[in-house]
Symmetry: D2
Subunit: 367 residues, 4 copies
């Protein structure tokens, strides 16, 4: 385990630092015969690109992806797909204080502790730019899921104190406002709240909710590689995520069995359904055919313009001000990252579950 590789059958290996030459990802285990073009990747990357609004960093990056391998005549070949995005806007500057001080809420100190030193230009591997590789790989995973009729979408459920109202839920609205909320009124209040935080040289957190529709039942595993466990890992591996819950999540801890259990029934077409979905689409680690619904809690952006107290590498206490380009909130750009991590997890579990039954094995290999 070396830390930057995810997945067992559908394997993703990301690389690159915020201020290095480039960032990228290698996806190994993508099936042959999938239609894939750079536009498929680009449209997902554009959703996490900086410079889209006042609430995202003004750093200018085209973030144009190139596919370097694994695609021939518009189709995946089954061999590794390498994708790259060049870093362009590496403003040359004096990293001075950052080079030898530990920014609160950042990984500077822990990098020094683990590795003995660190690349102090920006966040290095801990930068949000590392998610470029995740989103590029996730775009491929989403294409695969699309072919199987499985849909994944995420949105901001809350921004600071502002929650969406499910009565006003409108999926199309998600892509209509700068904070990716499915409720236009909440979005307007969230934007006002963020303006206030910027003025205060402060930052905010929020919650992203993700829905997976049309999942076949029986995907995942009963013990360690539960669908919910692997989703939790994938989502918690996004920088700034501090909590994960599925279905009723923490509320389930206050509920009772008679309320929390989802009773089974038969729908008009004769299919087994659950009458409620407190479980969030997963029972015993495997999908139950209902929508999968999970949430991720993001902490406030740690980079704030306000003066903060901290220490240097040499053990000197100082006050520091972090100059530069900061998002006042991570959530809007993280929405597509959450989708991507969910898609990567689902595809890996779908693929690794193809041998779970002898009749599946025979479908492929019996002549």
């Amino acid at each position: 385990m070396s830390g930057s590789v995810l997945g067992n059958v559908f394997t993703v290996s990301t690389w690159g630092e915020s201020h290095g030459r480039a960032l990228g990802v290698v996806v190994d285990g993508c099936p042959a015969g999938l239609d894939l073009a750079e536009e498929d990747i680009q449209k997902m990357l554009d959703r996490r690109k900086p410079g889209q609004s006042r609430f995202t960093t003004t750093r200018k990056e085209g973030d144009e992806v190139q596919i370097l391998s694994g695609v021939f005549e518009g189709k995946t070949t089954g061999t590794p797909i390498s994708m790259i995005v060049w870093n362009k806007d590496q403003r040359s500057k004096d990293y001075g204080q950052i080079a030898y001080s530990y920014r609160p809420g950042h990984a500077d100190y822990t990098f020094d502790q683990k590795y003995g030193f660190r690349d102090y230009r920006g966040g290095g591997r801990s930068s949000g730019r590392e998610t470029i590789g995740r989103v590029a790989a996730g775009a491929i995973a989403q294409k695969i899921l699309g072919e199987l009729g499985i849909e994944i979408y995420a949105y901001a459920k809350s921004i600071g104190p502002v929650d969406i109202d499910y009565e006003k839920f409108n999926k199309a609205e998600i892509y209509n406002n700068k904070v990716y909320m499915p409720d236009a009124e909440a979005a307007a209040r969230a934007e006002a709240f963020l303006q206030k935080k910027i003025k205060e040289q402060d930052s905010a957190g929020g919650i992203v909710e993700c829905v997976i529709k049309n999942m076949p039942a029986g995907v995942g595993n009963p013990v360690f590689d539960k669908l919910n466990a692997n989703l939790a890992k994938a989502v918690m591996s996004i920088g700034a995520v501090k909590g994960f819950e599925i279905g009723d999540g923490f509320d389930a801890a206050r509920s009772t069995g008679s309320v929390n259990n989802d009773e089974f029934g038969i729908d008009e077409s004769g299919k087994v359904i659950k009458k409620t979905n407190h479980a969030g689409g997963i029972l015993g680690g495997m999908s139950d055919g209902a929508d999968i619904v999970f949430r991720a809690a993001f902490k406030p952006t740690p980079s704030i313009s306000r003066e903060q107290h901290t220490v240097t590498r040499n053990g000197e206490e100082i006050n520091m001000v972090i100059h530069g380009r900061h998002d006042p909130i991570i959530v809007p750009r993280a929405v597509v990252v959450v989708e991507s991590m969910a898609a990567l997890t689902i595809v890996d579990l779908l693929f690794s579950g193809m041998a779970s039954r002898m009749d599946f094995v025979k479908k492929i290999y019996e002549r």
Copy 2:
């Protein structure tokens, strides 16, 4: 990925069903030279054993562990450690309705969907008894951590609506009451609440909190194999866990950067410390030297004695009553399981991080 193997360098492979012949685990990657006796394992297993109180199932299982390999003259040899617990109290009974119906809140339906059929005697692999292997392996992990001065302990933070009061926190009290709460008054209220639930033929959920003390800084990885991500996976893989959070968790989503950032300082001994611990001991996926604090939300026990509506394998709607031995709450017996999963995760990350620096590598191999 076959679902019942966890870890990369310290690998755990559990096996066994609730009503099969036995359950067990193979631990591969345990260092040679660790003192290990069956008592070390047994004392942890005894904490999850049924039949300890009115709030745990009355099934009678000695759950006596045998170490079958990997230990010689009281020391681990570095080869796989196989441990086994025989099932004794497999009451022969008519599984009738359970054999062909789907219990709400259980994995019966998803097992049938994934595998085409299922072992209908009890929960099979989804039974709480599967955690025997986890706790046995976790006991070894805890021994290793003990040698390094790292301490892990967990407790019930809430049972249904009853929360502990941190003003009254008393660690020694945890092992003094039947619900593993570190607050005797809350424990008394929780016990009364559970009595009520039993009378109502209902069940309750709760929250387990876990603390890891004396962690060296720099353990974990910056990208996918973050310490928090691997903890999340390990803990979410415990049946009935619906949420995971670290540090301020979901509350961080409502906080601001100026509050949530933990400022660094220097303590009297000249060591770098954080003045607060909103992060819960992890920054950028790596331990920061502060206490690691995380929480897991458990849903109410799905097995309740009340009649519930459900369907059969053949698509018939029925009302069913689940007879047998049910805990009204999972939390008390799950406390040691949470500790175990944390210990397994930490040990695997400690071991896989030993090659993170050339000076570490040279410490071992340079002559």
Copy 3:
């Protein structure tokens, strides 16, 4: 990587020492719905059992296998299959000299170097008894392959200086003689040769050849996880194997392209075939539809009754005589182990290749 786990989708974890309580294996990733009984396992184990002839150790072990989990009503459930064999004939004896000396050709010295000490009762993990777990798991793999029409068989190609004559090849003969040769005359000469070695207090080596018939084309991978590479690893992981070759193997190094290339043609049924099989059934790391043919070279049994020079743990030079029960040759009992390792490798590659094409994925998941 902890050393005793093999496979990615079909995972095998063996445990146990020659003189411990028991030996066993956990197989995770076996598909549900396979008919499986203890007899299926036992008949393979009986082929490696000691005490069958003068050429195998006279240690008396029933080696009766028990299936402890993963099978219900005669069918695999898709969950881990745990199998155990108890050690019975652990003669209590004075291990004296062996306990502190390094037997030539054995792993005593390297164990001490790696782990700091060792279980000195017999070979521990390096004993041939460790292969019990491999053969038990291999029996399951062979059952799966049988369902797909794939056949694996191995035999002794040479014993010391005695080679089989392919003109006299008779598959049925393999199970007719004590040295598992498919040529009765060669077998007779080999037996005479071995009698001589026993008299001389010496031992012999030999070559096992293995054939896999009816392989579907396209199994394996083009780069690291080539079918031949994974076979090589699996077979070289059997104790005493010093060489592995496929198809013409080392002879190919002396051949020319015009001779060594297998030309393609069309058979009567219109199927693509190769006119020769110098490649041994694998091109570019993937099966080509022809028979897979490989060989493994076994060194002579290192335990011989003759006096040998060696050193003790404390650096003292001594002469030692290894008392006890030794096979004069490993090959006959290793034949079934080679088959098992081949079967485990093929099954893991078949299962991990099920997602290599979008049309395969759709066959399983499209509704």
Copy 4:
């Protein structure tokens, strides 16, 4: 398992096709603090570069490597190291016959069988150019081993019928002749032999031998992940390798225990040594402190200019001539690839063995 990822703690992920935009590799798990420059990589790549002599293809590729991540101020940072080489000399040509026919001895047919179609421009992933990623990663592994005093070198032991004479072995000579032989006279004869093969429009095979000096004892594992097993896999995963042997290899199968066993002794400095090295430096899957010596058999280059019989995708029998640039032998350029695969294997085992003893663990984590 997706086929293009190797290693567990030191992980290598290669990508790219012979006629795609670029080829490259991501190395995850390299320790922080290693001095690393592009020159370190380039000098190894130059050893496998085409166009060096008449015996290697005349394709012109600078094969200049760029390090895109993971290195800061001349030192590795512990994060993934991405390296890339752009393809330049992609002659545009009519791939006509190759596009729809199966070249004998190549992977065209098996690619079509596995993936349903293939990138027909050159060998795609099966091209020798894929080894660029292996050699680039291997250069890093060799640097790490150099820091620990471990040396790896390989050379041609035989080319067609021409063998080196160990009496004339001269290590410096390896880099002096075009066929990488440590014996100048044999090299001259080999070159003459290859000239003849070129004239005959034919090709030749050969054997590469590799030596690893100064290995610490105790590296590797007793069961599946034996040092010899992992070496075998790594080396057999090089295209065109048909056989692997260690120490006396296949000759050991004809030897006797009394000859083949290496007796232990004490050298002048009081160190345990083996008096002979039939084992090739490995006992029971672990290094024994003696030189590790192994050999790989390479088949003749399958691309020959002579007309060959084969079939098309559509099942038509044809005669084909493969135009283009072919090496008459693979061995000289493969020497550095063998070294690289050995280095990758050793580093991964060294790193994964750091937790094999509690005293090792304490050396790193005890304060």
